[in-house]
Symmetry: C2
Subunit: 159 residues, 2 copies
Amino acid sequence: MSPAARKPKDDGNMNAETCARRVLETVPMVMRAIRREMRGASEEQLSVPQFRVLAFLGHRRGASLSAVSEHLGVKDATASAMVDRLVKRGWIERETHPEERRRVVLSLTSTGASLMDKARRRARSFLAAHLDGTSPADLQILASAMDVLRRILSEETQS
Amino acid sequence: MSPAARKPKDDGNMNAETCARRVLETVPMVMRAIRREMRGASEEQLSVPQFRVLAFLGHRRGASLSAVSEHLGVKDATASAMVDRLVKRGWIERETHPEERRRVVLSLTSTGASLMDKARRRARSFLAAHLDGTSPADLQILASAMDVLRRILSEETQS
DNA sequence: CCATAACAGTTAGCTAAGCTAAATGTATAT
DNA sequence: ATATACATTTAGCTTAGCTAACTGTTATGG
């Protein structure tokens, strides 16, 4: 049912250029699909970056603003604005660090945490639903590809 | 050098949920990296959606606005605004269709075409550069994964 | 033949995400 | 004590996305 994944036309002579082109075609498509899903999700709608902020704070409680900006790969000012919107919505709590008063300590409110939980479930099950018809071999390929991409990009960060 | 790609910890028991989570983590990262590259590219900077519009018109000359919005997966109003900005920059020409006066006929200007060409080269070689150190096997995995993703999402469109 | 419906785009008004540059306030170091 | 570095915020801008409402054009049905 999914031989396309294992026999993509030019099997054997895959090169970086061709591969790059495909990534460039595909990633924006996937991104928009995820975004649509997030938005249309439930009453409380969440953008992809917002989702990422909440997810980050979910397992790094008390993180600083710069930690958020670094994790998201955006400028501090951008992260500050995003956090601000999330605070206004009551999903994030922003306090000043007790010892370092220039720092900020961010954490999820309970509302934020439960929203996050719902959103995570939705997002995953959205993709998972589509991936359900996918063969284990293709799932493995997908997961591996994600690893490759992350590795490549983290190398970039260092250089 | 790249065994991580073929042995992602939970080799063997990969499932749709886990895979979905990884996609959800990775795709936004890649998207931001591409965006950064596009922006910082040259004098004339291009956003990812702008790139996609120009690329689309590059091989579908005379396309209508709704063709663009459909291809991008956005609302007509959004596409209209995007095209407008590109027209103002002199990269797209917008004329009314000779027979169907409600339609619009879009095409690249020569400036737009050459810009597109430059941008495409940059974008590809940016990714290609990172992919250069990647083993052929991993390239194949990546390409296959992109195929899987596109297939999954096009199924969604039909439903 | 005219009224109405369907279609293609545009406009207006909003939110969010991203940037840069500059400002603020706090800590550190000379 | 002053200068410098650091963490965050503010201000001002562009782009992208949405919805809802509008304009103008073509097609249709009575």
